[in-house]
Subunit: 150 residues, 2 copies
DNA sequence: TCGATATCGATGCATTTGCATCTATGTAGA
DNA sequence: TCTACATAGATGCAAATGCATCGATATCGA
């Protein structure tokens, strides 16, 4: 059966899509202004930095970042070409590889964060109170699949 | 001054970006499954349908949809090639044109909405109560630039 | 053990996006 | 009016994305 959305649901959808696009664009612009790589690079470098020396398999990056498989494959190729990550063979699976962030990759991530973090502070942190931040993230968590538990 | 973001602000940012990407992707998938055009087409057809017989200038579409100028230019070319919109010369400005949705364009929009609206109902309407929907849209409105007034 | 099937990651090709710039028309100031 | 500048929209070219598929290895069931 075709249950159509309420006007309130439509409004949430519209704002979600526009606000996220607008904020993402602003953050990207700030990075460009600093001659830094795009946000997608940050996401990957961030996950790899958190993973530490053990690194991550490409498919783990796909799970964590939601990028498409071919997208990760090519993004990693670019990151490797720039010396930000290294690809290591993995002992017990001849198909796979381990991706590890290099020192240069960590440094790039750090410089990106100086700009990116400032964008987040300005675009989100400065607009809502701590209580409101908690509410938004709880409600957005409910829209996620699977729903967030915190 | 510009400080670094609080953990709560970071969490809101992260969820905003991930949830919006995830939901957008699902809505796109639903359209593809129905052999329908992508969401971007809907946005433009929707604005044009609301504008009525008077149509809209491309620069007005840019303001309303947040697409880049070159993006609108090419999107309109594709829509015209598919017979969904028509381009009319504008009397008092030789540089410009008026874009008007055709009957076929209206019909396509209608068919897209049957699928798109259902996605919104499932992905948003079904996940939050009416009160919660109101809260999210109010809070997201504060993140917009300029902030929403309602 | 072998054959079928699934998973990991890469890639050829078409489409789309991003950037810079172009053409054409409009506007404003000397 | 004539010149400089601004605005509307298109486009060439490079980069990124999406789609389908491939090659290689792993796994599972008979």
């Amino acid at each position: 059966m075709t249950e159509m959305p309420s006007p309130d649901a439509i409004k949430v959808w519209a704002r979600l899509m526009r606000v996220s696009r607008q904020l993402m664009e602003r953050a990207e612009d700030a990075l460009k202004e600093g001659s830094l790589p795009p946000l997608a690079w940050y996401d990957v470098l961030h996950e790899l930095a958190e993973a530490g020396e053990g690194g991550l398999r490409p498919f783990q990056l796909i799970e964590r970042t939601l990028f498409a498989q071919y997208n990760i494959s090519r993004l990693l190729a670019r990151l490797e070409a720039d010396g930000l990550v290294e690809k290591l063979p993995v002992a017990d699976d001849g198909r796979g590889q381990i991706i590890r962030v290099t020192a240069k990759g960590r440094e790039t991530r750090r410089r990106m964060w100086a700009v990116y973090g400032r964008s987040i502070a300005e675009l989100v942190g400065a607009k809502l109170s701590p209580d409101e931040l908690g509410m938004v993230s709880a409600l957005l968590g409910r829209l996620r699949h699977p729903p967030a538990t915190d």
